[in-house]
């Protein structure tokens, strides 16, 4: 049971990693992309989503009693957040030189079109500090 939990978590996590790269390419969110060229993003998404699904279903017979609905639901949520943290951290490290800090980034996710997540958070912290000093 523990093994199945772990394997499903890995499947969902790797699929989410691929999904984030697909989103990065489709929505032009260069700040969360691992790659500079769109084609690599598409390729990564295809390999991770297709590869993890193939691995999960090929490694063992999945037509056996296993996880129940709430467990699947919880694992999907956990995998999503794990993949989000990894994507934001890794893309911020990879793109730290190729993307520059913006003085007036767009609000919300749109800021990640031209800057990395760490750059955006650093900007938010600086702005908070300035606002605090002004008060």
């Amino acid at each position: 049971m523990a093994r199945l939990l772990l394997e499903y978590l890995i499947l969902a996590f790797v699929s989410c990693l691929g999904l984030f790269q697909l989103i990065a390419v489709r929505e032009g969110l260069h700040g969360i992309s691992f790659f500079n060229r769109a084609i690599w993003g598409y390729l990564f998404a295809a390999l991770t989503i297709g590869g993890s699904l193939s691995w999960f279903f090929a490694v063992e017979n999945r037509l056996v009693p296993g996880l129940v609905g709430p467990q699947v639901f919880a694992l999907l949520i956990a995998a999503f957040f794990l993949a989000l943290v990894i994507t934001l951290s890794l893309s911020s490290l990879i793109k730290r030189r190729s993307l520059s800090r913006q003085d007036n980034p767009e609000p919300g996710i749109d800021a990640l079109r031209r800057m990395t997540y760490f750059q955006a958070i650093a900007h938010q912290l600086r702005r908070g500090k300035k606002d605090g000093l002004r008060r």
């Binding site: 499903y8 969902a12 929505e27 279903f57 996710i109």
Partner: protein, 195 residues
Amino acid sequence: MVSADSTLFFWINGLAGKVPVIDSIVRFIANDYFIPLIMALTVLALWFSGRNPEERERNQRTVWAALIAAGFACLAVEICNLFFDRPRPFEMYPGAVQLLFYPPADPSFPSNMAAVTFGFAAGTWLGNRRVGWFLLIPAILVCFARVYVGVHFPLDILGGAVIGIGMGFFALLVLRIAEPIPTLILKLMRRLYLA
């Protein structure tokens, strides 16, 4: 009603065991992991999509509705299981059912898979028709597959689907009642560049 349910069940389940390739495909669709993952990934992708910030915010509220609907649908099925203990088709008609799946031990009515997948689809459909219709396809496929492989009666599926759709509307109501909390959370997430 129960007789019509059994007749329809045997008509669908009677298709099983004739073409091995189709059996394998349907068995794959019916499993507990594939369709929920695909639906969850589709809903999560919706969080980031939208041509402008307004459309994206609408989509993000839709994602919440879908997740709440699926979560409540799961809960509703658990509660129903306390009151209804309908045997599975292979238990009710031993030897007459083509069982292409492992024999589940929980009650047959209502179908948990139908409730969750229709919850996802309905929650999404209420906020984004295009993606909602798209999600309805895997929901219908997996429900049909569950009858085909012999683990559910059509009435179990219908019961699950009604619960799921009901939870879609309920999720919308929850989000409305909970205002301004969802708006504040979205604002906070926007400040953190996550929405």
